[in-house]
Amino acid sequence: MKNEFSVLIGGAAGEGTRMTGQLIGKILNHFGWRIFVYEDYQSLITGGHNFSIIHASKEIISAPKKEIDYLIALNQDTILKHKKDLKEDGLIIYNSDQIKKEKGIGIPALSITNQFSGKPIMKNSALFGALAKVLGIDWQAVEDLLKREFGEKAEINLKIARAGYEQSKTFQKIEKLHQTPLSLLTGNEAVALGALKAGLDVYLSYPMTPATPILHFLAGVRKDFKNVIVFQPENEIGVINIGLGSAYAGKRIMVGTSGGGFALMVEGLSLAAQSETPIVIVESQRPAPATGIPTYTAQGDLLFVLSAGHGDFKRFIVAPGDAQEAFYLTGLAMNIAWKYQMPAIVLLDKEISEDTFNFDEKIVDKIKIEEPIFWDKKGEYERYLDTKEGISPLAFPGEKGIVVKSTSYEHDEFGITTEEEEKIQKMQEKRLRKYENFKNEIETLEGIKVFGNKNSDKAIIVFGSNKGVGIEVGKELNLKVIQILIFQPFPEEEVKRALSGVKKLISVETNATAQLAQVLRAHDVKVNDSILKYTGRPFFVEELKEKLIKKI
């Protein structure tokens, strides 16, 4: 059998293809295959065209590929749009009740569903059963998975899947790989879990794609485990100010949104800096300006998050490139936000947020709640005590015998408004000193990662979801691949070290103005060229390879 293969399942929104895509990922996962699921969906609730590509490989690959081995079609549109991407030896499995006759395996999914009095969405089960048979998967494995996933509702689905299974035939038996299955997690879920591990108390969010699933996931955690408050306020301005109020009262908070919602939060971001209130902001990018293209991807907010907020202040910015990094960097962001009493931003894009990645649970123990510097309960409390490190010990309202004064105004050490030159300078310098210490600590962390041929004199540089595709193409073209994980403070020295011996550097970005290259140039890094994509879709491996060959 091949080292990798992919399955595309497509249909109209509301037909349940995404759920089935997850099931396909899970069953292949049980056979030891590494899984990546790319989601492509539109901003509508029913109709339109949605699809998932489930990529299975012997080693971890976190990038979408155009060419597919198995095409599962719920409707005619799926055939029309994707048949061209089917490999020569590929196979179509289709709903023959609603699709014209094709070469491949036709399953009367609607008739089967009706026969068992199933709901229309259960057509998926017939096609899922058919795929299992095509891959030579034992019926028992299908039954176990559906029982586990659907619980009491499994019965009808099982009958429908069984009929699909029996009307199909084995095409190529899937190999059982001798490696432990890993969990399958979206970046959004990993962000939520990373925050929880780092002690998240309150999550606040106003719905905005592609960050909304974090809200849904944490609402589920609230229901099942009762350990976190989940609150959906009236707008993003409410979100960030409620968040800052909670943090002032001692709770670890996170807020989540996309670019438009973050724009509304920006005054609050500046308040977090001035009042020295810890907050983690998740910004999952989608194409903009303005409403842009809600359910698609982009990396056009990099310069925005770097400079957002009026006044002189710093923030911690991380940009994970898969679910594993999303977990770790969100946990880190929470701890850093509290240690330095400043805002931290987790910069995602729609592909990190919504695609499904393999996740190794070993990383879970690497995040622990790190306590901030607390007041020692001696003498009078001063919220903005001017210390050597610039970090003022924390205390929260409710503590007996003290007064805790936070403020948006420039202030003295106690937190009283000031307009006196000497005090203004002292406070600004206190915060700058804090940033200096913060910068020193961040320099000890892994701000970049290097993949591919480390001796190559040709390199590409990426961040976010272009990590996966960058690694794949780097392998094929024998390039050095550099991924930026921390954007503020910028790991300038690390980048320069990684670039020693590199004669040609190309940035690969999902935006129209090469924002990563602009950031690099601002740090005196020479970028020779950029490959940009701004159609809302991520780079596919074949496509990036073709574009890179022309450049190098």
């Binding site: 890993l182 108390d201 301005i237 409620i242 800052l244 909670s246 709770k251 996740f359 409710g398 948006s408």
Partner: protein, 282 residues
């Protein structure tokens, strides 16, 4: 801790400003509530930006001096973080009725247990006298030299419609009455709202008008929304009718902060639960 609640900060309100009356009423109320068993450290005050907001610097209690229009969400965050705290908001009319009106409506709607006190001077004073949402139609200000085109709206009517469970009006020059309102509002379990009429001697001097027209409501049926609206509509913030002050409406409903933290029990290390979740996601 000092008994008088004063901070060491020099007060920069205009001499004779009616904000002094509100400051005194808040101090009186806290001292009385302390005697009723609410210790001082349990009070937190949030403010927006404007003349009113300087009050945080004059009170030696926990405060968060927020952004313009955003005092209410800050207070809501504090309350859900620590429901044991008594959270009071001082906001201006520009703050709560213009910039941040959505927060006011939603805080009332969700009946979160905080107290919102509006220093309603019916103009933007600290930015030198522009019209606000409660300035009367025809108000002459620096941004409306030919008269404000918009009629004022009635914030009490809005609060009833939004679901506030305690709605009152006070008068900054009647400190004892206002003190009593604040005490009732803080003790009320749910969203309590006080619109405090606050004459601004510099930009909109309503002192004489209020002294002539303000009267205290008699004891009445506070559970009836219809009667509350009737009394509220007696003065619409535009014309020169009598102005009732006191409590208009007071009912009990479940509070958001209680509901949001229902059954909550913080897990110190979420690691085992994460592994449980991960096991299902494979």
């Amino acid at each position: 801790m000092e008994d008088n609640l004063d901070s060491k900060t020099k007060n920069t309100w205009c001499p004779g400003c009616s904000n002094f009356g509100i400051l005194q009423a808040i101090k009186n109320a806290i001292l009385i509530l302390e005697k009723k068993g609410i210790s001082r450290e349990r009070f937190v005050l949030t403010t927006g930006i404007g003349c009113h907001a300087k009050i945080v610097d004059y009170l030696n209690i926990n405060t968060f001096y927020g952004l313009h229009g955003r005092a209410i969400p800050l207070a809501e965050g504090i309350k859900i973080a620590n429901p044991n705290l008594k959270v009071l908001v001082c906001a201006g009319d520009g703050d709560a009725y213009d910039e941040g009106i959505s927060h006011l409506i939603h805080a009332a709607k969700r009946n979160i247990d905080i107290t919102v006190l509006i220093h309603n001077n019916r103009n933007f004073a600290l930015t030198t006298g522009q019209f606000s949402a409660t300035s009367p139609q025809g108000f002459i200000g620096r941004s409306s030299p030919e008269g404000n085109l918009e009629p004022a709206f009635n914030p009490l009517e809005l609060m009833i419609a939004s679901g506030a469970t305690f709605v009152a009006r006070g008068y900054a020059a009647n400190v004892n009455h206002l003190t009593n309102l604040i005490i009732q509002a803080v003790l009320h379990k749910g969203f309590s709202f006080i619109d405090a009429l606050q004459p601004c001697f510099i930009w909109f001097n309503t002192f004489e008008t209020y002294n002539q027209r303000v009267y205290e409501l008699e004891e009445n049926d506070l559970l009836s929304k219809e009667k509350a609206i009737q009394r509220i509509l007696e003065w619409d913030y535009n014309d020169g009718k009598k102005i009732p002050i006191g409590v208009f409406y007071k009912i009990e409903k479940p509070t958001f902060d209680k509901e949001a933290s229902k059954g909550l029990s913080k897990i110190a290390d979420f690691g085992p639960q994460i592994k449980e979740i991960l096991a299902k996601k494979s």
